[in-house]
C-alpha cells in the first residue's frame, strides 16, 4: 500500500568501486559447465564473420575475372563457389545458435534453481526482512538479463572487438599516418565509456530495485485483496501502484538518456575522425603523396568498422544491466545459510525426558540494540507425555518461543533439550522429524488435501494415517464432501477453503506423523463451538501419546493441557494447573476471563 518506502534491505550498491567485470566473473561457476559450447559458438561466430567478408571478395573476383573475360565456365564456377560459401555461412550461423540454445537456457534455469534452493534454506529472519517481490524479481527478470548477456553482448563484444582490432591493423597497414588519425578518438571514447558505465550501472540498479518494489505491490494487492475491497481502497492502491510505476518510468528515462548520449558520442566521435582522415587523405592525394585507390580502400575499411564500433554502446549498456542483475542475485546467494551443526553422535545425556528450556533467551538478530530481548531467561520443563498450555498477553513471545523448538529461529542464549538432547547439536532435519507443528496461520500448499496432510508424516504414511489424522481434526466430514475427496487440489492454485477448514487440515498435518513432540499454536481459534468440542475430544487421545506445547488464548484450549505456563515479560511467570493459576495469578485470571480489571 505504501510504496514510497522501497522494501529492500540491500537496495543501494555499497562499494563505489565495484567493477562490472568483477561482478560478471562471478557467473563463471554457472557458465563453466557450458564453456566448451559457448567458446565453440564464439569461434563459429568469428569464422562466420570472416566468411561474410570473403563473399564480397568472391563477388568482386567474379565481376573482374570470368564475367569481364566472358568465361562461362568461370562464371559457373564462381556461382558455385558463391553458393557453397553461402550454404556454409547459413549453416555456421545456425550452428552458432544451436550450440548455445539449450546450454544458455540451462544456465538461467540452473541459477534460478540455485536461488530457490538457497532461499528455502536461509534463516526465517532473512525472509522476515525481504519482501518476496524483491526475491521474485531476482529470480525472474534479473536472470533473464543474465541469459541475454551470455547469449548476445558477451559474444559480440568479443566478435566486434576482434573485428575492430583486425580493422585497425588493416588501416594502419594501408596508411599509418591516416590510421593514427583514426586512433585518436580511442582514448576519449574509452574514458567516456567508463564514465558511462559507472553512471549507467547505478541507474540500472535503481530500475531493477524498483521492479522488485513493483512486484511486491502487485503481490500484496492480491494477498490483501479482501482488505482493499473491504475498505474500497482499490483506487488509492492503484494510485500507489501508479506512483511506483511512474518512478520506474522516470528511472528508465534516465537510463535512456544516458544510453542516447553514449550512443551519440560513439557515433559522432569516430565519424569526426573519419572526416578528418578524408580531408587529410584528399589533400595527400592532391599532393600526390597517396594514391586515390588506397584512400578509397582505406575509407571503405573505416566505414565497415562503423557498426562494430557503434554497437559497443548498447552492448556495454546490456552488460552493465547484466552486471547489476548479477549483483542483486548474489546479494541473496551470499546470505549465510543456517549452519547445520550436525553431530550424528548426539550427546544423549541421561537428562530428564520431555522438553526442557534452560535459561532460554532470544532477541531477533535485526532488533535494535536497546530493545529488550523477546525472551529473557525462560526456564520450563514439559514432562514426557505431558501437555502444557502456554498462555501470555498479546505479543508476549509465545509464538517466538514455539518457533525455537524446531529451530525456525535459534535461541540466542540458554538451551533447549528434547529428551535430554540439546537441539542446538541436532541435525535440523532430524529435529524436525521429532517435532511437529501447527502454525497460527494455517498455510496450505498447492497440492491435494491428502498431500497437504501427509506432509507431516514420513514417506511410508498412507491412507490409514491420513484418515486417522483427518478424523482427529474432524476434517473427514468436509473433506469427504469435496469434489474429489482427499484428492481435491487446495492451496493457492486449488479450491479455497474457509479459515476453519484450513485450520483443521493444518492440525491434521501436525498430528499425522504421531510426532514425539507436538507444538500447536492456538490450533482451534477458527473453529465453531461444536467442532471445537469434537476436535478437543479427539485431540486428547493424540496428546496422551505425545509431549505437547499448546499456545492457548482461551479456557477451552487450556482445557486440553495438564498444566499451564504463563509467559510474561519474556519469562515464565507461573506454572500450575488452570485452577491454581486462576487463583494465584491476577494476570492469568485477566487473560482468561477479561475481567479482574484492576490488573490494568
Amino acid at each position: 500500500m505504501m510504496p514510497e518506502m522501497p522494501v529492500n534491505p540491500a537496495s543501494a550498491p555499497k562499494s563505489p568501486e565495484r567493477s562490472a567485470v568483477r561482478v560478471l566473473l562471478r557467473l563463471w561457476p554457472y557458465v563453466r559447465p557450458v564453456r566448451g559450447r559457448w567458446l565453440g559458438a564464439a569461434v563459429v561466430a568469428v569464422v562466420a564473420s570472416c566468411l561474410s567478408l570473403v563473399i564480397p571478395l568472391v563477388l568482386k573476383w567474379m565481376v573482374d575475372g570470368p564475367v569481364a573475360e566472358r568465361d562461362p565456365g568461370g562464371v559457373w564456377r564462381g556461382a558455385l563457389y558463391l553458393l557453397l560459401l553461402g550454404v556454409a555461412e547459413a549453416l555456421l550461423f545456425g550452428f552458432r545458435r544451436w550450440l548455445v540454445a539449450r546450454p544458455l537456457s540451462a544456465v538461467e534455469a540452473g541459477m534460478r534453481a540455485d536461488l530457490y534452493r538457497r532461499l528455502q534454506r536461509l534463516p526465517i529472519a532473512f525472509h522476515d526482512r525481504w519482501a518476496s517481490g524483491q526475491l521474485l524479481s531476482r529470480g525472474t527478470t534479473d536472470l533473464m538479463l543474465v541469459r541475454m548477456f551470455l547469449a548476445f553482448p558477451l559474444t559480440f563484444l568479443l566478435v566486434n572487438g576482434v573485428t575492430i582490432l583486425a580493422g585497425y591493423v588493416l588501416l594502419i597497414a594501408q596508411d599509418w599516418s591516416l590510421g593514427l588519425v583514426l586512433l585518436t578518438p580511442v582514448l576519449p571514447l574509452v574514458i567516456v565509456c567508463s564514465m558511462f558505465e559507472t553512471r549507467y550501472g547505478t541507474v540500472a540498479r535503481r530500475a531493477q530495485d524498483q521492479v522488485g518494489d513493483l512486484t511486491t505491490v502487485v503481490e500484496e494487492s492480491v494477498l490483501g485483496i479482501r482488505i482493499v475491497k473491504g475498505f474500497g481502497r482499490h483506487r488509492s492502491q492503484a494510485e500507489s501502484f501508479r506512483a511506483l510505476s511512474e518512478r520506474l518510468r522516470g528511472t528508465e528515462l534516465v537510463k535512456a538518456r544516458l544510453l542516447a548520449m553514449i550512443w551519440a558520442v560513439i557515433t559522432v566521435v569516430p565519424e569526426l575522425a573519419i572526416g578528418a582522415a578524408l580531408v587529410l587523405g584528399t589533400v595527400q592525394v592532391a599532393d600526390g603523396d597517396l594514391s586515390a585507390g588506397t584512400l578509397v580502400a582505406f575509407l571503405s575499411t573505416a566505414l565497415a568498422l562503423r557498426w562494430p564500433v557503434e554497437s559497443i554502446g548498447f552492448l556495454l549498456a546490456m552488460s552493465q544491466e547484466a552486471a547489476t542483475a548479477t549483483e542483486r542475485y548474489f546479494e541473496v546467494m551470499d546470505a549465510e545459510e543456517e549452519p547445520d551443526t550436525a553431530s550424528p553422535t548426539a550427546s544423549t545425556e541421561d537428562g530428564p525426558g520431555g522438553v526442557r528450556f534452560e535459561g532460554v533467551t532470544f532477541r531477533y538478530p535485526d532488533a535494535p540494540d536497546d530493545a529488550p530481548p523477546v525472551l529473557d531467561g525462560v526456564d520450563l520443563h514439559i514432562r514426557p507425555g505431558e501437555t502444557l498450555a502456554l498462555v501470555g498477553g498479546t505479543g508476549s513471545g509465545k509464538t517466538t518461543l514455539t518457533a525455537l523448538v524446531p529451530r525456525l529461529h535459534e535461541a540466542t542464549g540458554g538451551r533447549i533439550l528434547l529428551d535430554g538432547e540439546d537441539i542446538a547439536l541436532m541435525e535440523r532435519a532430524r529435529l524436525r522429524t521429532l517435532v511437529s507443528m501447527a502454525f497460527e496461520e494455517p498455510t496450505l500448499f498447492s497440492a491435494s488435501v491428502g498431500e497437504n496432510v501427509l506432509m507431516g508424516a514420513g514417506e511410508t504414511a498412507a491412507e490409514p494415517e491420513l484418515e486417522r489424522a483427518l478424523g482427529v481434526a474432524q476434517a473427514d466430514g468436509f473433506v469427504g464432501r469435496l469434489p474429489e475427496g482427499s484428492a481435491t487440489q487446495v492451496g493457492e492454485q486449488g479450491l479455497s477453503l474457509s479459515g476453519g477448514q484450513r485450520q483443521r487440515l493444518a492440525l491434521a498435518r501436525a498430528v499425522v506423523g504421531r510426532p514425539r513432540f507436538l507444538i500447536l499454536d492456538d490450533p482451534l481459534s477458527a473453529l465453531d463451538v461444536h467442532t471445537e468440542a469434537r476436535v478437543e475430544a479427539a485431540l486428547r487421545e493424540v496428546l496422551r501419546e505425545t509431549t505437547a506445547l499448546v499456545v492457548a488464548h482461551r479456557p477451552s484450549t487450556v482445557m486440553l493441557a495438564d498444566r499451564v505456563a504463563l509467559l510474561s515479560r519474556g519469562r515464565i511467570a507461573a506454572v500450575g494447573t488452570h485452577q491454581e493459576l486462576l487463583r494465584s495469578s491476577q494476570e492469568y485470571a485477566w487473560l482468561m476471563s477479561g475481567e479482574n480489571q484492576e490488573k490494568r
Binding site: M5, R70, L82, R117, L119, E220, R242, A256, A292, G500
Partner: protein, 612 residues
C-alpha cells in the same frame, strides 16, 4: 505484419480443463491486436516522428560514401588547381553529417524510450487497475503469482519489442524497399530474381511465426508456473521448514523450471532454424542473380558496371534478414504475453461500478443505516446455489450476530452486504438504496468489512491503520489504536507508529494484526460494520477491547457479526442461525437460549467450553 496476432481460442463447449488451471483465460477474438493498437494509438504521432527521425538519420549516415566519392572526384582536382573550396565543403559536409547522425540518434533513442515507457506505464496501470476491480473469487483462483507474471515478465516482453522493434522494423522495411527498387531499376531481370526470392522467405517467416508463437505461449505459461511456486514457497516459508519440504519443493520447482528452460531453448532453436533457412534462400538468390547477370553481360545485354553495382547491392539486400528474425522473435514473444494480458483484461469485473450513482440519504438519529436483503438469491458462477432465497431486514443501529456451521452461508451473506459479490437475483439495500447504485467511496463510508485474514501491507503501522481512512491525522490514527487496545504494543515497537512492518523489529503477531485491522475499521467509521470471524486470533482481553470499542466508538452503528465465540454473540441485539443458506432461527439471544433450538445447543456447548 498484416496478419492478425495469434489469438487464444475461446473456450468452446464444456471445457474438460479449467482455463484457470491451464493459465489460459480466453480473450475474445481480436482482443490481443486491439490491445496493442489501443496502447499505441495515443502515441501515433510520436511513433511517426521517431520513424522520421530514424529515416533522416539513415540518410545522414548514407551520405558518407557520397562525400568520399565527391572528395576524390572533385576535391582532389580542385585542390591541385589551388581551389580549396570543395575540400572545405567536404570537411564541413562530413562534420554536419556526423553531428546530425549523432544528434538524431540521441533524439531517436530518447523519443523512442519515452513512447516505450509511456506504453508500459499505461499497460501496467491497466493490468493493475483491472485486477483490483476483479472479484475476490477471481483472485483466489488466478493466484498472485500469475498476476505478478502478467505485470512483470509479460510486460517485459512487450518492452523488448518496443525498445528494439521500431528501429529494426524501420531499418528492415527501408532496406528491403530501397534496395529492391534500385535493383529493379538497374536491371529488371536481376530485380525480378530478388523479388521472386521473397516468396520462399515469406513462407519461411510465416512458419517461423506460427511455430515460435506457440513456443512463446508455452513459455509465458511456464514462467507464470515458476513464479506461482516461488511465491507460494516464500509466503509459506515457516511450514516449508517445519515440515522439511525443502527437497520435495526443489524437485517440484525443478519440473516447472525445466519446462520454462525447455521453452526458452525451443525459442532459440526456432530462431536458429529461421536463420539457416533465410540465409540459404538469400545466398542462393545472390548466386542466382550473379549467374543471371553474368550471362546477360556475356550476351552483351547488360553492362559490366551495372552488374558490379547490382552485385554490391544484392548482398546488402539480405543483410537485414537477421534483424527481421530478431524483430519477429520479440514480436511473437510480446504477442504471446499480450494474449495472456488480454485474457486477464477480458475478465468481467464481478461487481461493476455504477455509471449513474445514487447518493445515500443523510443519516438521521443513529449513525447506523438500515440493511435490507430483498429476495436475494446467490449462486457462485462455478455452480452450486449458496443462498436459495433470502429476505432479511436489519434496522439501523442493530447488532446482529450470525451463527451456523461452516458452509451455512454466513460468509456469503457478509460478502453480499460488503458487495464483494452482487446477488444473482434480488437486491441488497442500504437505507433503501441498492448497493449497486452507490459509488465506491459512498459504499465504503456505508459498509466496511473486517475479515479473519489480517494482512499487513509493507509500510508503517500508521500507514496500515490509515487504510481505513487515508486522510486521517496521526492523532486520529492513535485514537483508533487506543480505542481498540492496540496503542500499547504499537508504542513499544522500535519506531512506534512509524515502525516499518518489514524492517528492524517490526514483527507483529497474528493477534496484534487483528487489532490493527480493527483500528482500520474504527478509523473508517462506517455506518455498517461487518465482522467476519475477525476476532479469532484475539485473546480474551483483546476480544473485550473490541466489544468495548463497538459499544463506545461504534455505538449506534449497524453491525453484522459472524463469530464462533458466543461471548461476542451474547452482546448482540439479535441472533440469526443459518443452515444451508436459510435463516432457521431469528431472535434475541435471551429468547433463543430458552427456545429448544440450534442456538440453545450452541450456547450450551459454549458454556461447557468455558468451565474449568
Amino acid at each position: 505484419m498484416t496478419e492478425t496476432l495469434p489469438e487464444q481460442k475461446p473456450a468452446d463447449g464444456a471445457p474438460p480443463s479449467d482455463p484457470f488451471d491451464q493459465d489460459d483465460l480466453p480473450a475474445p477474438h481480436g482482443a490481443t491486436g486491439a490491445l496493442l493498437r489501443s496502447l499505441l494509438s495515443a502515441h501515433r504521432t510520436r511513433v511517426a516522428c521517431a520513424a522520421l527521425v530514424l529515416l533522416v538519420k539513415e540518410a545522414a549516415v548514407q551520405a558518407g560514401p557520397l562525400l568520399v566519392a565527391y572528395a576524390i572526384d572533385r576535391g582532389v582536382p580542385a585542390f591541385r588547381a589551388g581551389d580549396h573550396g570543395p575540400v572545405v565543403a567536404v570537411a564541413l559536409g562530413y562534420l554536419l553529417c556526423a553531428a546530425l547522425s549523432g544528434l538524431l540518434q540521441y533524439v531517436f533513442v530518447r523519443g523512442a524510450a519515452r513512447v516505450n515507457q509511456d506504453v508500459l506505464l499505461d499497460l501496467r496501470g491497466r493490468i493493475f487497475r483491472h485486477a483490483q476491480v476483479l472479484s475476490v473469487d477471481f483472485h483466489e483462483r488466478y493466484t498472485s503469482g500469475r498476476l505478478i507474471s502478467r505485470a512483470t515478465t509479460d510486460v517485459e516482453s512487450l518492452r523488448e519489442l518496443l525498445s528494439e522493434g521500431l528501429q529494426e522494423l524501420v531499418g528492415v522495411v527501408l532496406s528491403f524497399l530501397s534496395i529492391s527498387l534500385v535493383l529493379l531499376w538497374l536491371d529488371l531481370g536481376v530485380g525480378a530474381v530478388a523479388v521472386v526470392s521473397f516468396a520462399p522467405l515469406y513462407l519461411l517467416i510465416r512458419s517461423y511465426r506460427r511455430r515460435v508463437g506457440e513456443v512463446y505461449t508455452h513459455r509465458s505459461t511456464a514462467i507464470a508456473g515458476v513464479i506461482v511456486k516461488f511465491a507460494e514457497t516464500m509466503n509459506g516459508i515457516r511450514p516449508v521448514r517445519a515440515f522439511r519440504r525443502e527437497e520435495a519443493n526443489d524437485a517440484e520447482f525443478a519440473v516447472l523450471n525445466r519446462r520454462h528452460e525447455h521453452s526458452n531453448g525451443d525459442a532459440l532453436l526456432e530462431m536458429a532454424r529461421y536463420v539457416v533457412g533465410s540465409r540459404l534462400v538469400a545466398n542462393t538468390a545472390v548466386a542466382g542473380m550473379c549467374l543471371w547477370g553474368a550471362y546477360r553481360v556475356a550476351d552483351g545485354s547488360l553492362e559490366l558496371g551495372v552488374l558490379a553495382a547490382a552485385v554490391l547491392y544484392m548482398r546488402r539486400l539480405y543483410d537485414p534478414i537477421d534483424r527481421l528474425g530478431m524483430f519477429l522473435n520479440s514480436y511473437e514473444s510480446a504477442a504471446a504475453s499480450l494474449a495472456k494480458i488480454a485474457g486477464l483484461l477480458a475478465q468481467e469485473p464481478g461487481v461493476p461500478e455504477t455509471t449513474t450513482p445514487l447518493s445515500l440519504p443523510r443519516r438521521t438519529g443513529t449513525p447506523g443505516r438500515q440493511v435490507v436483503f430483498d429476495g436475494v438469491r446467490f449462486a457462485y458462477r462455478t455452480g452450486g446455489e449458496v443462498l436459495p432465497r433470502f429476505d432479511l431486514t436489519i434496522p439501523a443501529g442493530q447488532t446482529v450476530a450470525v451463527v451456523g456451521a461452516t458452509g451455512a452461508g454466513k460468509s456469503t451473506l457478509a460478502k453480499l452486504l460488503a458487495r464483494f459479490y452482487d446477488p444473482t437475483e434480488g437486491r441488497v439495500l442500504l437505507d433503501g438504496v441498492d448497493l449497486r447504485d452507490l459509488t465506491t467511496p459512498d459504499l465504503r463510508r456505508g459498509v466496511v468489512m473486517v475479515t479473519q485474514e489480517a494482512f499487513l501491507f509493507s509500510g508503517t503501522v500508521a500507514e496500515n491503520i490509515a487504510i481505513g481512512r487515508p486522510d486521517a491525522t496521526r492523532d486520529e490514527i492513535e485514537a483508533a489504536a487506543k480505542a481498540i487496545g492496540a496503542h500499547d504494543f504499537i508504542a513499544n515497537l522500535p519506531d512506534g507508529y512509524d515502525t516499518d512492518v518489514r524492517k528492524r523489529g517490526g514483527r507483529i503477531s497474528a493477534g496484534q494484526r487483528q487489532l490493527v485491522a480493527f483500528a482500520r475499521a474504527l478509523l473508517a467509521d462506517p455506518a455498517v460494520l461487518i465482522l467476519d470471524e475477525a476476532t479469532s486470533s484475539l485473546d480474551v482481553p483483546g476480544e473485550r477491547a473490541v466489544q468495548q470499542a463497538m459499544d463506545t466508538v461504534l455505538a449506534g452503528r449497524t453491525a453484522v457479526v459472524i463469530a464462533h465465540r458466543l461471548s461476542t454473540v451474547e452482546v448482540a441485539d439479535r441472533v440469526l442461525v443459518m443452515d444451508s443458506g436459510r435463516i432457521v432461527e431469528d431472535g434475541t439471544p435471551q429468547t433463543l437460549v430458552t427456545a429448544d433450538g440450534h442456538y440453545a445447543g450452541l450456547h450450551q456447548a459454549w458454556r461447557d467450553s468455558l468451565v474449568g
